[in-house]
Symmetry: C2
Subunit: 437 residues, 2 copies
C-alpha cells in the first residue's frame, strides 16, 4: 500500500485554475478532463423525480440500474445479465476495488490516464509500463508487451492485470480491431486479466469508428469499465460501473469486488442510480444528445489538432473523446533556449506566460524530459450553459467566437514559443499578450 502524497495532478490543476479565475485572471483552461457541457434537461428531471430515494439499497446497484446497464452492453455486442454489473460512485472507485481484488503486477500503456498508476500503488501493486504504437493510444505494442511480460517473469514478478483505454486518454486516439485482437490474444495466452476502460466509447469522432471491445475477444477474462462522466458530462454526478465476465471466474471476481465495495462506499447515491437506469436505457433524446456531444467534441478537438500542427509540433489526429496530445520535440532547440527542456517546464511555461493550463506528458508516464502535453479541448465550449448549448447546436462550433478565440490563444502561444526569437507583431500576438503575467 503506497498512499499518494499529493492530490491527483489534473484535479489539483483544476483547483488552481479556479482560484486564478476567481481572481479575475484570463485563462485558457485545458487541464481537467471534464466534458464541460450542461446536463440534458431529461436528466435534470430524472434526478429531481428520484430525490425521495434515500435508502442505501443493494451494494452492486439497484435492479433497474443494473438491468439498464446490461441492456447497454448487450446493444454493443456484449450479451450481459444484470448480475454481471457493479455500479460505483464514478468508475474511479470501481477500478480501485478491482485493483484491490486482483493480486499481481499491473501492466499499463505508456502514456496512460494518470490515476491507473496512482491506484496501482495505492493497492500495493507494481506497475509495468509498455509503450503504445502510433495512433493506438491506450493499447500497448504487442511485441513490446510480450517482451515485457517475459522480462518481468524472468525477474520473479507477476504480471497479472492489463489495463487498456479505448478511445484513449491522453492521446485521443483509438486503437483499431487488429491490435486489440493481437493484444487480447497475448493476454489470454499469458493468463492476464484485461480491464478495458471504455469510458470514451460513446464519443467517437466518426460514428463509423470501428470499435472492438476486448470483452468480445477475451470474454472470460475481461472486465469492462465505463460511466456517464464523459459521454453525458456527468463527472460531478459520480456514476460509474463495471461489467464482469459471465461464468464462474467472473462471478467470483464480481463477488469479491462487491464485498470490497460494501466496505469502501456501500452504494451509489440512490437518486443517481435512477438517473443511470434512465440514461443507460438510451432513450431517443439521450441518443440524440450523445450524438450532438460527440460531434461537438470531434469538431473542437480536430480544430485544436489543426492549431497545434500549424507549429513545429507533432500530434496525432484525435479519433474519440476530447483530448489532443502534441509533442513539441521538433522545436526542442528553440524551447531549450527558453529554458524549456522537459514536460514540467513546458507545462509551467504555458501556465505562467500564457495562462494556458495543460498537463505535461510526465503525468501520464511519459518521459519527464519529453515535450508532450495533454490539452483537454472539452473545456472550450463557453463560460456558461447558454454558450455551451449554442456550441452543441452549432454546425461549426470551432468557429464560434468564444471557442475560436481560445484556440487562437493556444495557437499563438505555441507559435511564439516555438519560433526563433522573432517578436510577432500581428493582432494574434496582441491577444496572446493579454494573458501574459
Amino acid at each position: 500500500m503506497e498512499p499518494p502524497q499529493r492530490i491527483s495532478p489534473n484535479l489539483a490543476l483544476e483547483e488552481y485554475v479556479a482560484h486564478r479565475l476567481s481572481m479575475g485572471q484570463t485563462m485558457v483552461n485545458l487541464g481537467l478532463g471534464e466534458a464541460r457541457l450542461p446536463v440534458h434537461p431529461a436528466l435534470l428531471e430524472r434526478l429531481a423525480a428520484a430525490a425521495p430515494a434515500n435508502s442505501y439499497g443493494p451494494v452492486a446497484g439497484t435492479e433497474p440500474a443494473r438491468r439498464a446497464a446490461a441492456g447497454y452492453f448487450t446493444r454493443r455486442r456484449l450479451p450481459t445479465s444484470p448480475t454481471q454489473i457493479v455500479m460505483g460512485p464514478g468508475s474511479k472507485p470501481v477500478l480501485f476495488a478491482l485493483l484491490t481484488a486482483i493480486r499481481g503486477d499491473v501492466i499499463l500503456p505508456r502514456p496512460c490516464w494518470m490515476s491507473y498508476a496512482a491506484q496501482t500503488g495505492l493497492a500495493g501493486h507494481r506497475a509495468i509500463r509498455v509503450p503504445v504504437p502510433p495512433r493506438c493510444g491506450g493499447v500497448p505494442d504487442p511485441v513490446a508487451l510480450q517482451e515485457m511480460i517475459k522480462d518481468a517473469r524472468s525477474r520473479g514478478h507477476h504480471p497479472r492485470v492489463l489495463v487498456l483505454t479505448n478511445p484513449d486518454n491522453p492521446t485521443g486516439t483509438s486503437a483499431g480491431p487488429d491490435i486489440v485482437r493481437q493484444v487480447c490474444e497475448i493476454a489470454g495466452a499469458e493468463d492476464l486479466v484485461v480491464i478495458s476502460d471504455e469510458i470514451y466509447r460513446d464519443i467517437p469522432h466518426d460514428p463509423a469508428l470501428p470499435q472492438l471491445s476486448p470483452a468480445e475477444v477475451l470474454p472470460a477474462r475481461t472486465v469492462v469499465l465505463t460511466g456517464l462522466s464523459k459521454s453525458l458530462a456527468l463527472g460531478g454526478w459520480r456514476i460509474g460501473l463495471a461489467r464482469f465476465p459471465a461464468g464462474e471466474w467472473g462471478r467470483r471476481l464480481h463477488d469479491q469486488v462487491v464485498a470490497i465495495a460494501s466496505e469502501m462506499w456501500s452504494s451509489v447515491a440512490a437518486p443517481m442510480q435512477e438517473v443511470a437506469a434512465y440514461a443507460l436505457s438510451e432513450p431517443p433524446e439521450i441518443v440524440d444528445h450523445l450524438e450532438a456531444s460527440a460531434r461537438l467534441h470531434a469538431s473542437v478537438a480536430t480544430a485544436a489538432h489543426h492549431a497545434v500542427t500549424m507549429v513545429k509540433a507533432r500530434c496525432e489526429a484525435p479519433q474519440g473523446g476530447f483530448y489532443v496530445y502534441p509533442d513539441l520535440e521538433p522545436a526542442r532547440a528553440i524551447l531549450a533556449a527558453k529554458g524549456i527542456t522537459g514536460a514540467p517546464q513546458l507545462e509551467s511555461h504555458l501556465l505562467r506566460h500564457y495562462g494556458i493550463a495543460v498537463l505535461g506528458g510526465h503525468h501520464f508516464g511519459d518521459r519527464v524530459d519529453g515535450l508532450r502535453f495533454r490539452a483537454a479541448t472539452s473545456q472550450l465550449y463557453g463560460a456558461n450553459a447558454e454558450e455551451q448549448w449554442a456550441a452543441l447546436r452549432d454546425p461549426d462550433p470551432a468557429s464560434l467566437p468564444y471557442v475560436a478565440k481560445q484556440l487562437d490563444l493556444l495557437r499563438c502561444a505555441l507559435i511564439e514559443m516555438t519560433e526563433e526569437a522573432m517578436p510577432l507583431t500581428s493582432a494574434a500576438s496582441g491577444s496572446a499578450q493579454q494573458v501574459h503575467h
Copy 2:
C-alpha cells in the same frame, strides 16, 4: 491488504430481507442500521435545485459545503475552519481513506460497528480489540486499554489509531464525559490518533445528554467523522465528512487524505454537496426535523428496550441513535435446549422461525458463543412515507398500531424462545405464528 471475502453482513442481510419481502413474506426487519424515514421536503427541493451542478469540483468538497460543515462543528464547541473539512460519498469512504493514510495497528472497542474491522484489514492493518465498560458502548475501558497497549507494544506491535463511537452502534449507549476524558488522556500519552465517529451525535434520546467530543479533549490528534446518513435519514444520498485537527500535524494528515480521496473517489456528487451546504447550516426547519427524528428514535428504541427486557434478557437502556443490543445470556440453558448456543444460531433462529432479521453480536466483534444481537429499531416506522411521517408527528409513536405490532412480534418471539417449553395461547402468540415459516 486483506480484501473482505464477503459483503458487509448488514448490507447482505438487507438484500436478503428485501428478497423475502418481494416474495410476499412477512418480516420484522431489524437488520440494517438505516434511519427508515422520508427525506425532508426542503432537502428534496435542494437536490432538485442543485441538479445542474455537474462538475467534479474540489476533491475536499465545495467551499459552501465545507464552510457549512465548519459552522456545524463550531456550534458544537469545536471552532473549525473550512480548510479542516473533507467531504466524502458517505463517511465510510472517508474512514477508509483515513485508515489508509495512517500506518499502525487500530484499536477498536468490543463490540463496535462491523466496518471498522473490515476496513482495518482492507487497509492492511492489525485490529486490537478492547472491551467497553457497561453503558459506555463505543469507548473502551481505560484500564483494559492501557494494558492492551502495553501488551501490544511488548509484542512488537504498533498501536496507532483508536476508534471511538459516541453515541454507539451497536449498543445504543453513549459514553459520558468522564470516561471520554480518561480515554483521551491515555490516547494523548500514548501518541495515538483518535478517530471519533460522531455520526449519531444529533440523535440524543434526551436533548440534555452530555456529549463531550474527544476533539475537545485531544484537539491536536482527533479526527471527527460524521455524515447525514443517520440524523437526516440520507444513507442513500452518500454524504459524509471528516473534521481534521487544526495545526501542522492535522494539516498534513488532511492533505494525505485528500490525495487518497483524489484517487479513490474524486469528489462527492456535486448536487449532494449543495444539499450538505444547506443541511449543515442547520436552518430552523432542519433543526425541528432533527429534533422530531430524535424523539421518534428515542421513543421506539425505548419501547424495544422494554420489549426485550420483559423476557430473560439483559439490555442496556439506549441513549442515542436507534439500536438496542440485548444479551440472552440469562436464558442460555433454555436456548441451548433449542440448539441455540451462540450468536449465529440466535440470528438464524430469529430469522427462520420468526421472520425477524437482526445481526448477531459476533458481527460486531463479540464472542461467537455469546447470545447478543443488535436490533435496529429505526426500521419500524412504517411501510411507506405516510406511515413514517405519522410516526414522526405522533407524541407516542411506539403505540401506533403498525409500530406496536412489530414490537409485539419481537417480544412474543423472545418470550417463546426464552420460556421453558410451554406453548403460548394468547393472541400475541397467534400473531407471532403468522410469521413462522
